[in-house]
């Protein structure tokens, strides 16, 4: 393929199973507003080459901000204030603008929730799909053109040569997301960040797009960071899952293990919510309160105001004052809960932050 000869990095790339990306104790906060608590507070996450890791949680839990900090695309005012993001041996947070440009779209590609909003309305679809390979892989115009048609065909766009001359507004939502996938794959990246890639699409199209993503990542041995709030997507696509709550990871492990036997009360609640099965009184299970409450807490577990386990396990006292650390509870899963691991360590982050 055209990619390989121009991609000198290909030889040293991590092989499947080896760590490709490691987030170490990442903290994202607003440096100009010191009284506002960090948006992301000490996240550790590893993605191996060729692995699909899902990040789930409610809106406001910091999933998307985690993804944006990987690309150093955080909104103005937000800054990664501590921690490291190691991608293939190098810290993204310490990279120069030039190195970042090399990374973005080249070795790390991103899919967004609103495909039509992310495509440039003034340039043709073909040009946009060709751009990453033209910039990052030095593919010449003619070769790029042929490769674009090949890619568009691969992502299931009928009549690629006609579609390549379209503008984004001429495409349906599903088609636009296919084009986005083609553009993301164009420079043969190693990591794909998919931020709610199917939320704006119909369920029927969603299944098709997820199938396409799954096929492509297997074919290309692509690592994927999948961000979603839909657990059925997670179960269909992800190898591992990390559950986020209020800027922290509260549970992490292999998808089937976590979905079948969740340990953290929040994960349990989230799974029950998404099943939408009524109890004998005809009521749906719902998590009391809202996620915003967690931001007001100064100490203790952030999920405590909405937690049903704490009261029944007689842990109220401990949960109010000490926040548990994210601790392994078996060979492959971790959870941040006193009820799961009563003798575990506590996280000192709250204390450190207090004035």
């Amino acid at each position: 393929m055209i990619m390989e000869k121009s991609n000198s990095a290909a030889k040293t790339n991590p092989r499947p199973g080896e760590p490709l990306l490691e987030i170490n104790n990442l903290q994202v906060s607003l440096p100009d507003a010191p009284h506002v608590k960090p948006i992301i507070d000490g996240i550790n996450l590893r993605i191996n080459a060729g692995e699909v890791v899902a990040l789930v949680g409610e809106s406001g839990s910091g999933k998307s901000m985690t993804a944006l900090s990987l690309m150093q695309l955080l909104p103005t005012g937000l800054k990664a204030t501590s921690g490291k993001i190691i991608f293939d041996g190098e810290d993204i947070l310490a990279m120069s603008q030039r190195q970042l440009n090399h990374l973005r779209g080249g070795r790390i590609a991103m899919l967004f929730q609103q495909p039509q909003a992310m495509l440039d309305p003034t340039s043709r679809v073909g040009t946009q799909v060709a751009e990453p390979m033209r910039i990052h892989r030095n593919v010449d115009r003619t070769a790029a053109k042929a490769r674009v048609l090949e890619l568009l065909g691969e992502v299931g766009i009928p009549d690629p040569s006609a579609r390549a001359d379209c503008f984004s507004y001429e495409l349906s939502g599903g088609m636009a997301q296919r084009v986005m996938i083609a553009a993301a794959l164009s420079a043969n990246p190693e990591l794909l960040i998919a931020d709610e890639p199917t939320t704006a699409l119909d369920v029927t199209v969603q299944a098709q797009i997820l199938k396409l993503l799954d096929d492509e990542r297997r074919k290309r041995k692509l690592a994927v960071l999948l961000i979603t709030h839909d657990l059925s997507i997670v179960s269909a696509l992800a190898d591992r899952v990390a559950v986020m709550y209020s800027g922290r990871i509260v549970e992490e492990g292999p998808t089937q293990r976590i979905l079948n036997s969740p340990q953290h009360p929040y994960t349990k609640a989230l799974i029950q919510c998404s099943l939408l099965k009524a109890d004998k009184d005809g009521n749906l299970f719902s998590i009391p309160g809202g996620a915003a409450q967690a931001r007001d807490l100064d100490e203790g577990c952030r999920f405590l105001p909405r937690c049903v386990t704490a009261a029944s396990a007689n842990l109220q006292e401990r949960c109010t004052h000490l926040e548990p650390a994210l601790d392994s509870y078996n060979d492959c899963c971790k959870a941040r809960c006193w009820a799961v691991k009563p003798d575990g360590a506590h996280s000192g982050a709250h204390e450190a932050r207090r004035p």
Binding site: S59, V203, L210, S232, L275, I287
Partner: protein
Amino acid sequence: MTSYDPIERNLSRDKGTDPTAPFVVVNDLVKHYPVPGFPRGRSVKSVDGVSFVIKEGEVLGLVGESGCGKSTIARVLMRLTPPTSGVATVDARNVFAMKGEELRRMRRTMQLVFQDPFAALDPRMTIGESMEVPLAQHGIGHARERRDLVLRMLNDVGLDASFYGRYPKQCSGGQLQRVVIGRALLLKPWFLVCDEPTSALDASMRTQILNLLMDLKRRFSLTILMISHDLRVMRYMCDRIAVMYLGQIVEVAERDELFEHPRHPYTRALIASSMLEETGLNSSAGLLKGEAPSPLNPPSGCRFHTRCIYARQACSENVQDLLQAGDGHSVRCQFWEHLDDVSQQTARSGDDASREPMARAMSA
């Protein structure tokens, strides 16, 4: 109803109405949007001959992909846009024939809950002001009474009095959806149309709002038309479900019947796609080809034939009517009885040769 209520709830109810007759009857509803710049007659066939009934106190679900005409039905029923043709009666009154004062009174009995609560509220008005507008519009109470009504309704939808003075930007999506539902119920309607009330919300907020809707339905004895593309929401909320495709209803059945014995190939694909954790990616993605065609130029014959994996020659030629597939179960597919034979044969013959035996079974 509670005694504080200055609104006479029975205002809209004809004492002489037969209580067993369906509360909402929609008959052959058509809505075509003309396309500017095209020759006469060219139009988007958004809703093309839709009929359904809703019994009093029933929740009817309307599912389908975007662009199939679900929301148009809601807008037409609410008289927000005029129908091209067709008849709709609510409580034995013809909705489309109403004018002036009669229409204004009728609007009190039918309310709409929109999908996006941020767009449904004026960002420059407080929640309280927004909620009082419909009361003032219908001349209910004095300022202080209206304020009391709004505060009571905020309590009913699970919000505290502090929300009265807040602006929409100070609230979360779930809270605003509660406000919008409360505003719709302030006029004590009989008939509520919910247009995707939970699709803008998180999983945890979604269950809270659905619980609230069901609770309010019981307390206010509402008849609901629930519009959604999420079959899991439908399964919880609805008594009966109608599946729409390109402006037509392709299947109607009681909830359990629809989920246990879906007859139309499109319904089967929809169910498989929304229950990914049970069906897996491969089976659900394989049930449907391509994307929905444009309602500007719907396919000939059966409108679904371009995407149907069971389709054959006859499907593109014969226009299909709704057929009876059981008690209260209708389906718009001429081969609905044979779909099961086909899938059994396919299972036996393996996946690779799936198209051949399917065609054979169809022609048998």
